[in-house]
């Protein structure tokens, strides 16, 4: 069995949605932004199909707004205050150092928290054939991965980076579910390391162009090692194809001052699906819905960290 996802949207329709979104965003001085983002996702998810059935996005603008407000309250405001202590207030130097350290560590923790929160929210708000996706990884696990990953990457002058990437991908994929069925990722850092090392060595002779090939290789590797039940994903994207996509997309955006982005977006999705397939048997009869509490409104701080939230 061989299945490809398909995308049915058009740049023109996306542009029309974008025009209405833009007007409402301008008129409401930006408040509509969250609803605009939701409209956009509803369209993009709704135009994506596999096995003839389309995905559905169930998020709301209100949830996105509250998620952003929460993040601003828990991270934005403290970071702003600490930076003010560091730069503006007239306090002794040790206090400034402590403020700078606290601010830096908050920023550092923010990224894994935001990544997990966004994934939890987006998957939890996505369904196919009436069955919800979900993400069940714990945010502190991600913080640990990012913490140790950054540490070892710095220690090895960047050579550890592919191992870090694989650890992150393992965490992100293996805690993703469709109903009660789990996704699997069995990639290993050392496989990616060879390509990474090659890309570093070829950077000068190819003037950096080899990194396009590395990105293509990474994409293939990540998809080829992702499985769902007995089925496995397969990706056949190549460096030249990816380079062609990027050059044309870049030119389109450059020549239209960014106005062509709906078409660029559609081109990128269609490109990704052209090379992506799900191979093997898909036993849909076995999959059962499992209710997950994915609210954008977690209670308390721990609730905040492990409830999904999204920054739009």
């Amino acid at each position: 069995m061989f299945r490809r996802p398909t995308f049915h949207g058009t740049g023109g329709t996306l542009f029309g949605i974008h025009v209405v979104n833009t007007l409402l965003t301008l008129v409401t001085l930006g408040v509509y932004y969250f609803w605009a983002k939701t409209r956009l996702r509803q369209y993009l998810f709704g135009q994506t199909a596999i096995e003839g059935d389309r995905f559905a996005y169930h998020g709301t603008g209100r949830e996105l707004l509250l998620g952003t407000l929460k993040a601003a309250l828990v991270f934005g405001l403290p970071i702003l205050l600490l930076n003010a202590v560091r730069d503006v207030l007239d306090v002794p130097a040790p206090v400034k150092v402590v403020a700078a350290l606290l601010s830096a560590s908050l920023i550092f923790v923010f990224f894994p928290v935001a990544m997990v929160g966004a994934r939890r929210y987006r998957l939890g708000r996505t369904s196919w054939r009436g069955i919800r996706f979900s993400f069940r990884g714990r945010v502190w696990e991600m913080v640990k991965i990012v913490l140790s990953g950054s540490f070892f990457t710095a220690l090895t002058f960047g050579l550890y980076y592919p191992f870090f990437l694989v650890a992150r991908q393992t965490f992100m994929v293996s805690h993703s579910y469709f109903g009660n069925e789990r996704f699997w990722f069995d990639g290993r850092g050392r496989d990616l390391f060879r390509s990474f090392l090659l890309a570093i060595l070829l950077t000068l002779p190819t003037l950096g162009l080899c990194w396009v090939w590395y990105v293509a290789r990474k994409r293939r590797y990540f998809w080829d090692h992702t499985a769902f039940g007995l089925a496995r994903f397969s990706c056949t994207v190549t460096g030249p194809a990816l380079l062609g996509l990027w050059v044309v997309n870049g030119l389109l955006l450059l020549c239209t001052l960014g106005l062509a982005w709906p078409w660029v977006r559609v081109r990128s999705i269609q490109f990704a699906f052209r090379y992506l397939a799900l191979m093997g048997p898909l036993d849909l009869g076995r999959i059962q819905q499992e209710a997950q509490q994915v609210s954008a409104l977690g209670e308390g701080l721990s609730g905040f960290f492990d409830s999904g939230f999204d920054l739009a």
């Binding site: 301008l26 930006g30 009436g130 955006l253 450059l254 009869g285 999959i287």
Partner: protein
């Protein structure tokens, strides 16, 4: 109107599609499946989540957390639904209204253009004018210190005492009428051949040797300084930063996103957008600078003569291009300054008895 349709039913617990027949009634749908028989779905409990665009299946959902779903592939179903139950109104999409949707989208496009123009022409400049006075001078000074460090590194500064005294006299003359200014003005002369002068936020002006040597009288330099001092006093850098942020936000609202290659396209748009704002600041500094000269009883002919020199050298002297790129010098700009200078009263020499050309070469 057709009342019987075929579709698929999803129970919200498994991903299996169950074939279903659907009958359109006045108050709801009658749905029959092999497994569960016939049930009735009132319209008011249903919501449509798909089928708004050509080629999409119609999807109707019922229930909260884990809804049941009905899928009907034939888009004509919606038209029949509206005929069978005209009272449902906007609860379900009506494909016959798609032409109107297109008209609304076009109207929205016109609205976007109008709103963008209004925000760009009035909204952002107004916001900048309102916010600028509330930015602490201490912040400008902090930014200015690091800018001076880059533009005028200590080893490149001309520390000649006679030149320094002459510059202080000129600045003193110009600022005598404004004792309440929050800025302490400092002028740095930098030993570089470029013909340029830069106003740094927080009260500093950097003048390059190339420009200094091209002035034939102290009045000419006073003209350049008056212009640059106005940039400082009118807080044009702070205003430019606020306008920069405003333009960025506007572009973000217009494109929805600013990541990846998008950022490059937007950078060009942003640079183009700011040209208008910077031209405006230049005109303002000209006008207010000329007023400053007149109030200090400095002969305005010096400012005009210097700008005229610069304009004539355009193209012939690549060094001059630097000043022109930040200070465009079209003929109408000089004409505007001449009109303002016409109101000049009797002038007093700025540095009587000094050998100016010799002073400018002491750097």
């Amino acid at each position: 109107m057709r009342s019987d349709w075929t579709g698929s039913y999803l129970d919200g617990r498994s991903a299996a599609r169950q074939p279903a027949t659907v009958r359109l009634m006045r108050e709801g749908l009658e749905i029959t499946t092999a497994a569960a028989g016939t049930r009735f779905w009132p319209y008011r409990e249903l919501r449509q989540t798909q089928g708004f665009y050509a080629g999409e299946e119609v999807r109707l959902e019922r229930g909260g957390e884990l809804p049941e779903t009905l899928l009907i592939a034939d888009p004509a179903f919606l038209e029949s639904l509206h005929e069978a139950a005209p009272h449902v109104g906007l609860r379900f999409h009506d494909p016959r209204r798609r032409a109107a949707r297109l008209r609304w989208t076009l109207a929205a496009a016109a609205g976007v253009l109008a709103a963008t123009a209004a925000i760009y022409l009035w909204g952002i400049p107004l916001a900048a004018v309102l916010v600028t006075p509330h930015v602490p001078v201490a912040w400008e000074e902090a930014v200015g210190r690091s800018a001076v460090g880059v533009l005028a590194p200590p080893e490149r500064r001309c520390e000649d005492p006679a030149l320094g005294a002459a510059l202080s006299t000129i600045v003193g003359r110009l600022t005598a009428g404004r004792p309440s200014s929050p800025y302490t003005v400092r002028v740095y002369v930098v030993n570089r051949s470029v013909v340029n002068a830069v106003a740094v936020p927080g009260g500093s002006v950097v003048i390059f040797r190339g420009l200094l040597e091209r002035t034939r009288t102290p009045e000419e330099l006073a003209g350049v300084l008056a212009h640059e001092l106005q940039h400082v006093l009118l807080r044009h850098t702070t205003r430019a930063v606020i306008q920069d942020v405003g333009t960025g936000l506007l572009l973000m609202a217009l494109t929805g996103d600013m990541t990846g290659p998008m950022a490059y396209g937007l950078e060009t748009a942003r640079a183009l957008g700011e040209l208008r704002y910077s031209r405006r600041a230049e005109e303002e500094a000209d006008r207010e600078g000329m007023k400053m000269l007149l109030a200090a009883r400095v002969d305005p002919a010096g400012m005009l003569a210097f700008f005229e020199t610069i304009r004539k050298e355009e193209g012939a002297q690549p060094e001059v291009l630097k000043y022109l790129s930040s200070h465009p010098m079209p003929t109408e700009r000089i004409a505007r300054l001449e009109a303002l200078a016409a109101a000049a009263g009797p002038a007093e020499p700025v540095l009587p008895g000094e050998d100016w050309p010799a002073l400018t070469r002491r750097c």
